[in-house]
Amino acid sequence: MSSFTLLVTSAPFTEQNAYSAYRFALASVQAKHSVNGIFFYQSGTLNGSSLQLTPSNEFDLYAAWQGLANDYNVPLMVCVSAANRRGVTTAQEALDSDTPHFSLTPPFESVGLGELAVLMKNSDRLIQF
């Protein structure tokens, strides 16, 4: 039993990296390792947008992330500053900036970079995608 933190810095669909991270996370939990959290930074924060509409004949990575969180209790943490500048915002952030709409909903959570420090401190490996 080992523990992982995954750092996802790439946008979904546009690049394969985010999908690879999902497959790695799934293989980890299936092998009874613990994934302390997936931390989304840079373009990776776009993975947290609930507004993504994936064509029905294509792989829905957003739904896959949700499944990982629900089935294995893997925290999905989105860096607030990287996310906000890319249009990924929570209800509260939208309220604070007088924007009527928002895109980030649970199981994704908006957090600061400090959460990544905590995750890493408690993980045997950090793997970046």
Binding site: F4, R23, A27, S28, A31, D124, R125, I127, Q128
Partner: protein, 94 residues
């Protein structure tokens, strides 16, 4: 004891070349995504063959692209990928 994870094609960018220039004695190289095309790049393939036992290929990514393992490359799936990151002390993603 670093595992170097590559993702881009050596025909497109120089990250694999730069990684190989800085490879430590006991380091390993993992070819994923478009980096699996390293196996059809003549110069790079020769360099990788010289690193016998230290080069790994992610099966799912290679199969997707129709690329076959050759030389002394060890094939691993995602389950093996997870275990490989634990055999090395840390992972650097290029």
């Amino acid at each position: 004891m670093i595992l170097h994870k590559l993702t881009s094609s050596p025909f497109k960018d120089l990250s694999l070349q730069h990684c190989l220039q800085r490879l430590g004695e006991s380091d390993g190289v993992l070819l994923t995504q478009d980096a699996v095309y390293a196996l059809i790049h003549q110069d790079i393939r020769e360099k990788l063959n010289a690193l016998s036992g230290k080069v790994f290929l992610l099966e799912e990514d290679a199969d997707a692209r129709g690329i076959e393992a050759n030389g002394n490359v060890e094939i691993i799936d995602y389950e093996g990928f997870v275990e490989l990151t634990l055999k090395f002390n840390k992972v650097v993603s290029w």
